[in-house]
């Protein structure tokens, strides 16, 4: 079991590495980089939703938090190493606290959805209202709806004049994605990961086995927050400005769409889903006839109705006859299961 998973992960990494080297000859670095960043953002939700069964409607909150933490710290500090680490640590800590509050309160799926959504909205409204000069952290003004521009972008650690940009930033992001992928694979293969999957399958049983379900869900949620924060940090360096739009509901919706279309219960699915859809959005942005929001909405509705497994698992099934029907469909929420349990009280 472990051997085949290891081989699978190694193949994925090898193929992705080759694709990363070929990429720049097909599309420009700038576009490729954002596709990779979105891929990482999608993976953060793919991990907690597809493997932990936690549906977060506000993954964008951690994305934005990472970006703002990086931007504000970079303005105050200058050199980018500490801001980079803060861009991961702040969303991790915030997700940990938020997760602990929700999971120790034993909130059901619907409430999880409401609270994550509302928290994202609070961030969005708050950041939007900070245009006044009284909203400063150190020397950084939050800037309200205008966002925070003009911060130090990523540099080689210790050398604040050696910027990592363009082609080298693209490779940096690509390698970061591969490293995160390998780490997450390792996490899922570890006992912690097995228990996380078991919780998705049957929370009550895992609890009756003596595992602390609440703590484990909280940790998994925080790891997802950290990965989203890393994506936000990279985004800040890519865009050279961070804006409240990163916290918007549309951003959250987009992350969910990537996961659904790409396929839940896999790691590569959400990443590929994000890259394809973000590229599609980029192409749609080139023309003005059709609004990209309209297309995204249509894709979401249609994939919920007609693509219960997502693209990657469906293609996987088509290619391996052996696997037909073997992989159980991942429930998008624990809702149905929970209702069944509740009926048996």
């Amino acid at each position: 079991m472990a051997d085949s998973e290891f081989r699978h992960a190694a193949i994925v990494i090898a193929v992705a590495f080759v694709a990363m080297l070929i990429g720049p000859s097909l599309v420009d670095n700038y576009t490729l980089t954002i596709l990779i960043i979105y891929g990482m953002l999608a993976m953060s939700l793919g991990l907690i939703w597809g493997f932990g069964g936690i549906l977060c409607f506000g993954q964008a909150a951690f994305f934005g938090l990472g970006a703002y933490a990086y931007a504000v710290a970079a303005i105050n500090i200058g050199e980018s190493t500490v801001p980079f680490l803060l861009g991961i640590a702040v969303p991790f800590a915030f997700a940990f606290v938020l997760g602990a509050m929700m999971f120790y309160g034993r909130l059901s799926d619907v409430y999880l959805g409401v609270i994550t959504l509302v928290v994202t909205l609070i961030f969005f409204k708050f950041i939007n209202s900070t245009a006044g000069p009284e909203y400063v952290i150190g020397t950084a003004r939050l800037g309200g709806f205008n966002g925070v521009p003009g911060f130090q972008t990523l540099n080689v650690p210790g050398y604040s004049n050696w910027y990592i940009y363009d082609r080298s930033f693209y490779y940096f992001c690509g390698v970061a994605l591969l490293v995160v992928y390998a780490l997450v694979r390792w996490l899922l293969a570890s006992p912690f990961g097995r228990v996380a999957i078991a919780i998705r399958e049957n929370e009550t049983r895992v609890e009756l086995m003596g595992y602390d379900v609440r703590l484990r869900k909280t940790v998994l949620f925080a790891v997802g927050g950290a990965i989203a924060g890393l994506a936000g940090t990279l985004f800040a360096s890519w865009a050279e400005i961070v804006t409240p739009g990163m916290f918007s509901l549309a951003q959250s919706a987009e992350i969910i769409i990537w996961c659904i279309v790409g396929g839940l219960g896999t790691l590569t699915g959400p990443v590929i889903g994000a890259m394809i859809l973000a590229f599609l959005k980029f192409l749609l942005g080139q023309q003005t006839v059709l609004d990209s929001t309209l297309i995204l909405g249509l894709i979401l509705v249609l994939s919920v109705l007609f693509l219960p497994r997502g693209v990657v698992p469906t293609i996987g099934l088509l290619f391996s006859r052996r696997g037909l029907g073997r992989r159980k469909r991942v429930d998008r929420g624990g809702a149905r299961r929970r209702m069944r349990d509740a009926a048996n009280v």
Partner: protein
């Protein structure tokens, strides 16, 4: 004294507004256990329907009390037949599909009306209380909301249709055994909920500058009001709207309206954290 009256009116108005924007969602969620995340966009459509009708020369009251509910009701009917009926019992999938729908509607509205603000002016003039000016249209909203609540209650508890609907929601199999088609009941209920939402959108049209993304301002408030409210459609709606209305107005008066909005959201998070069982417990265990 005058100030107290004005503040009292303001608080009641905030509560009424919360009830108004949540009523359609409450019917659909409370009775069908469907969370319509396109609720805000349904209101937005109701608003545009009203404005377009008024510009076409229709009387403003006809536009918002008849045209808007009809347009959105029919939209709801379409949505129920094309999307939602395939997803009954799949709460999360319904939320996701209607979220997609909300983006779709925003996109369509942008396509048709462009990304600019439109609006109409309120049909009722203000009047003074002491030194303070009171908005007459706000009073109209309060009165209309009260009428609406009584009407919903009367329909649900007093009419044959209300009884059939409530019966179907509890035991669809029994209702169909008694000869009532659950399919039809769901359809009619969703139509009614959508029409109510359209009515809210129409009535708010003179108050807000309408843009295609206006729905986002309503969905979160409506969503938390309904979810926090709980099992009973009417009592739940009244209680949570009152609580949230008062909380947000306290912060609105003492700090500013932004803090008021945030306080409302924070109150919702705290409430859900403190009473997770109180509401869902009843919702999902009591009578599924």
């Amino acid at each position: 004294m005058d100030l107290a009256v004005v503040i009292a009116i303001q608080v009641v108005y905030t509560v009424a507004l919360l009830i108004l924007i949540s009523a359609g969602l409450a019917i659909v969620f409370g009775m069908m256990r469907v969370i319509n995340l396109a609720h805000g966009e349904f209101m937005m459509v109701g608003g545009y329907a009203t404005i377009v009708a008024v510009h076409a020369g229709v009387n403003i009251y006809v536009a918002m009390l008849i045209v808007a509910p009809l347009v959105v009701g029919i939209l709801g009917l379409l949505v129920e037949r094309l999307v939602i009926r395939f997803l009954y019992g799949r709460l999360i999938d319904t939320m996701l599909a209607t979220w997609g729908l909300s983006l779709l509607l925003i996109g369509l509205a942008t396509l048709i009306f462009g990304n600019t603000t439109t609006g109409i002016s309120p049909p009722i003039a203000g009047f003074p209380i002491g030194d303070y000016q009171v908005n007459g249209y706000n009073l109209f909203i309060i009165v209309m909301t009260a009428v609406l609540v009584v009407a919903i209650y009367a329909v649900l508890s007093g009419t044959r249709w209300g009884l059939i609907a409530r019966g179907t929601m509890q035991r669809a199999d029994m209702a169909s055994a008694l000869g009532y088609s659950p399919d039809t009941v769901y359809m009619v209920t969703f139509f009614a909920g959508s029409a109510l939402t359209g009515l809210a959108g129409g009535m708010l049209a003179p108050l807000v500058g309408l843009v295609p993304t206006a729905g986002a301002n309503f969905i979160a408030k409506a969503f938390i009001t309904v979810i926090s409210g709980g099992a009973s459609v009417i009592a739940g709606l009244l209680s949570s709207a009152t609580l949230f209305g008062i909380v947000s107005e306290i912060f609105n008066f003492s700090v500013n309206s932004m803090v008021g909005e945030i306080a409302l959201l924070v109150a919702a998070v705290i409430l859900l954290r403190l009473m997770p069982q109180g509401i869902t417990g009843r919702f999902f265990k009591g009578r599924m």
